[in-house]
């Protein structure tokens, strides 16, 4: 079990570190960093599904017999792009939040929000 599944366990540990950072940290930039850690764990998990012992990169050549599976790699190429796109949008939002609230700590932003609401009598 250990010899055949160690990769999965290590990658799950990685994902969970990322997820923990996303949920537990109040700093928005840290959240985004955590998000990318989490996603990298998932990417590696996908790639590990396609790996074959003794296989080689799926670029066909005459003197190679076994290849790893190309499909997970294609999926992860797409997913990496999606990940960086999300990161860019998140960072842009963080910049705007900093410009209008003066902080990127979620707790403080919420605090200032509560002040807003008292002023205009709304509630959420």
């Amino acid at each position: 079990m250990i010899a055949t599944h160690y990769v999965y366990w290590l990658l799950f540990a990685l994902m969970m570190i990322g997820l923990y950072v996303v949920i537990s940290h109040g700093n928005m930039l840290k959240k985004l960093i955590g998000l990318s850690l989490f996603q990298v764990g998932v990417f590696l998990f996908f790639i590990s599904l396609g790996k074959v012992d003794g296989g080689s990169a799926p670029i066909v050549s005459e003197d190679v017999e076994t290849y790893s599976h190309p499909l997970p790699q294609v999926l992860i190429l797409t997913a990496i792009v999606v990940g960086v796109a999300t990161l860019a949008v998140g960072l842009a939002l963080a910049v705007r939040i900093f410009e209008s609230y003066g902080t990127v700590e979620e707790d403080q932003v919420l605090l200032r929000d509560a002040d807003d609401r008292e002023q205009d009598g709304g509630a959420s």
């Binding site: 080689s56 990169a57 670029i59 050549s61 190679v64």
Partner: protein, 93 residues
Amino acid sequence: MIFAVMAALLVTMVLALVRAFLGPDLYNRILAINMFGTKTVLFVAVAGFLFGRPDFLDIGILYALVNFVAVVAVLRLTHHDEPATGRNGDGHS
């Protein structure tokens, strides 16, 4: 022999990693990460020979490039902001 080189690279990576963790200031970290980057370039080259398919050295070129970009970016974008982080900015909480 190639295996020994690979082992040496991995050990050096770990050493550079420790330096990157310990800091103690920004410049030490950048130095460690820059060195780590060079090691990954070598890693890709050596791994190609180790597993018998040295056709993918393009990746090595790219690593060398982005490594350089990253170092320049760090210097360019961290410089003014807080010189304080430079001196005693140890990261561990």
